[in-house]
């Protein structure tokens, strides 16, 4: 059973959400501020964190920053609708996805499922892909460049995997969203762009400045062979 940690300062909401998520077949735990959430994460391992942005003590952004210091576990941010700045910052810091708040619990669970499904190695994709200096190991969810491991978040890994599997071809943002995030692209969605920019930065840093992923005008992204 997947263990999920809900970090949100709205106690009532979080209790109802826990009830809902538990009934959907997960095992949820709760924390009501960032500090407490980090303590819970240290004490136990979780498969996914749902993190609210607006919180007292340690806010969601800072909590995410602390989580990312030593973990690439999947994180979904709950952001206030229309607060684009928070959303972009969250994604840039390595959140895997965001859900605008308020949202229906159904929507949230769908996102959790999508992220978890893709955060886990699947039997069908279990073979290692090697492309020049790049080695992608889906079963361990690891990437190496000339033998040096590349640290990617779960979503970043998914995006790179999708592109590398189709190396040389242009992959549209819609397709990337569906394959890597497990959902269709929303209107005015900059999710893919922010994640891609992070992947490109990390990859280019590892490859000594070489740009391996190309943005194709109006069409999407392409991993250069």
């Amino acid at each position: 059973m997947d263990k999920i940690l809900l970090i949100d300062d709205d106690v009532e909401l979080v209790e109802m959400l826990k009830e809902y998520i538990d009934l959907e077949g997960f095992s949820a735990n709760t924390a009501h501020d960032g500090e407490a959430g980090l303590q819970v994460l240290q004490a136990d391992t979780y498969d996914l964190v749902v993190l609210d942005v607006m919180m007292p003590k340690l806010n969601g952004i800072d909590t995410l920053r602390r989580i990312r210091q030593n973990s690439n576990m999947p994180v979904i941010m709950l952001t206030a609708k229309g607060d684009d700045a928070d959303r972009i910052v969250g994604l840039e810091l390595g959140a895997d996805d965001y859900v605008p708040k308020p949202c229906t619990p159904r929507e949230l669970v769908a996102r959790i499922r999508a992220i978890l499904r893709r955060a886990k190695p699947q039997a069908s994709q279990a073979k290692t892909i090697t492309l020049n200096e790049l080695t992608l190991m889906p079963e361990q969810r690891r990437v190496e460049w000339s033998g040096v491991p590349l640290v990617l978040t779960s979503t970043e890994f998914n995006l790179l995997e999708v592109l590398v599997e189709r190396a040389g071809n242009v992959v549209s943002k819609q397709m990337l969203s569906e394959l890597a995030l497990g959902r269709p692209m929303a209107k005015f969605d900059r999710n893919i762009d922010v994640h891609m920019s992070s992947v490109r930065q990390k990859l280019s840093a590892a490859a000594g400045g070489k740009q391996l992923i190309q943005t194709v005008y109006r069409l999407g992204y392409q991993y250069l062979k």
Binding site: D10, E24, P102, R218
Partner: protein
């Protein structure tokens, strides 16, 4: 240099110039008399000594001795002393110096207290005026660098202070005008900057060290702006808080609805039987969605209106943006067989925040699709105006338009046109569009097109 500067400058310059002129004239009048005297006779101390010597000779030794003395002096290269009797005849029968006659001598004697001219009663029964001819007539010419200098340069004397005075007053007028107009200019910049939404504008720093009414005005401005800034900040903060606070119960509401649905589908047979409960639940869910949407729109609008969040502008291909929006709008129109027509025109670039501009145009397209009748066409077109470097974007529907009095009203928040009997939406879409376009230095207007519907026109500046 602004108008005020020139006004100050000219005013001070004329005032000073007038003062200089009046003072020069007054000095000139006083000088004039002495000058005239000086020109007729020599009033310098050596001349006075000569007059004194001649007068003493005449009084003590008589007219013959004076005559011998004058004859003696005649051989010397020096200004000559004249002894003129009451008939205007010189003792040596010489021609009198220019301008000298009985009358002028009488006048000079009456005026003069400087002993440069004396009237003596001689022993031959006549009265004699004793005076020395003006030095200028016979004094040797002065040479400067070998060139003969006109001796009469001192008659130009009043012109010198005039020119110097004019130059100095020019300088001071410029300084004074600058002194007054500079802080006013600084204030104007500060006001403009504040009006453009920069509430950090202060004049205190640039007016440092100044202690006058203008500096007071400056500090009053600073106080005002910081107060306004506080108000805006607290209002934005309040809007933020309100929307957050409104959203928390909404979020709980949605989860509660989700829980009921989840639990009842799993266990409660009665719920499945009672379809009305299910319908009501769906309705509650929709309404809470709507409310959430409205809160979001309000938040966006208040942010745009306060202009506190700086736009993150980037270079945008308008054609690309429009094509995406047209695809979406077409998708929405499928149900009613509404088509959005757009002839792509490449190479139009604008500087804008992408998501905002997209939203602004999307609101208009959605409205058009909403109000145009079934089986009709919404036309989107762009034209470039090369003169003022802008793009004119029009969206025309085939609906009924609005009444002419409503053409401006539809851009106001929560305004709903009278003919929109099937209105959805929240009445904020066009208000948001207007705010977005205006914050991008553009304009948006509406007009009714004869035999067609409403046409919305957006004009935006373009970049190369």
């Amino acid at each position: 240099m602004g108008r005020l500067y020139w006004k100050f400058f000219l005013f001070f310059f004329f005032a000073q110039l007038t003062a200089v002129l009046v003072v020069s004239l007054a000095i000139g009048v006083v000088n004039d008399k002495r000058e005239r005297e000086r020109r007729l006779i020599d009033a310098a101390p050596p001349a006075k000594t000569m007059v004194f010597a001649a007068a003493s000779t005449l009084k003590i030794s008589g007219i013959t001795s004076l005559k011998s003395l004058l004859d003696l002096w005649l051989t010397e290269p020096m200004p000559q002393l004249y002894a003129v009797n009451e008939d205007g005849v010189d003792l040596l029968k010489r021609d009198l110096p220019k301008g000298i006659n009985k009358e002028s001598l009488a006048a000079l004697t009456a005026d003069s207290d400087n002993r440069a001219i004396q009237k003596i009663h001689a022993n031959d029964g006549h009265d004699y005026w004793l005076f020395v001819e003006p030095r200028s007539k016979r004094s040797p010419p002065t040479y400067l660098n070998g060139i003969k200098v006109q001796q009469n340069f001192r008659y130009l004397f009043p012109a010198m202070p005039l020119i110097v005075g004019a130059l100095v007053s020019l300088l001071f007028a410029a300084l004074l005008a600058w002194y007054f107009s500079k802080p006013i200019k600084q204030l104007r910049f500060a006001f403009e900057s504040a009006a453009n939404g920069n509430l950090d504008a202060r004049v205190g720093t640039v007016m440092q060290g100044r202690r006058d009414e203008l500096a007071d005005l400056g500090s009053a401005f600073d106080v005002m702006v910081s107060r306004v800034s506080q108000l805006v900040q607290s209002q934005t903060h309040l809007m933020h808080q309100v929307s957050h606070e409104l959203r928390s119960p909404l979020a709980r509401l949605q989860i509660a609805i989700g829980l009921i649905k989840q639990q009842s589908t799993q266990s409660d047979a009665a719920y499945q039987v009672n379809e009305r409960i299910s319908t009501s639940l769906n309705r509650i869910e929709t309404e809470s969605d709507r409310m959430d949407h409205l809160v979001g729109e309000l938040l966006t609008l208040s942010r745009l209106e306060s202009g506190v969040t700086a736009l993150q502008k980037e270079r945008i291909d308008l054609n690309e943006l429009l094509q995406e929006l047209v695809e979406d709008a077409n998708f929405e129109g499928i149900a009613n067989n509404i088509k959005v027509e757009y002839a792509p025109r490449a190479n139009i670039f604008v500087e804008a925040q992408a998501d905002l501009l997209q939203r602004a145009i999307d609101n208009i397209l959605r409205n058009a699709v909403k109000y145009t009748p079934k089986n009709s066409v919404v036309a989107l077109a762009t034209t470039i105006n090369p003169i003022n470097k802008s793009v004119v974007l029009t969206v025309k529907d085939a609906g009924n338009g609005v009444t002419d009095s409503e053409l401006n009203e539809i851009f106001k928040p929560f305004y709903r046109a009278n003919n929109s009997e099937t209105a959805h939406g929240y009445g904020l879409g066009l208000a948001i569009t207007k705010q977005i376009i205006e914050s991008h230095a553009g304009t948006v207007t509406a007009e009714n097109i004869a035999n067609a519907g409403l046409q919305i026109t957006i004009i935006l500046p373009i970049i190369e």
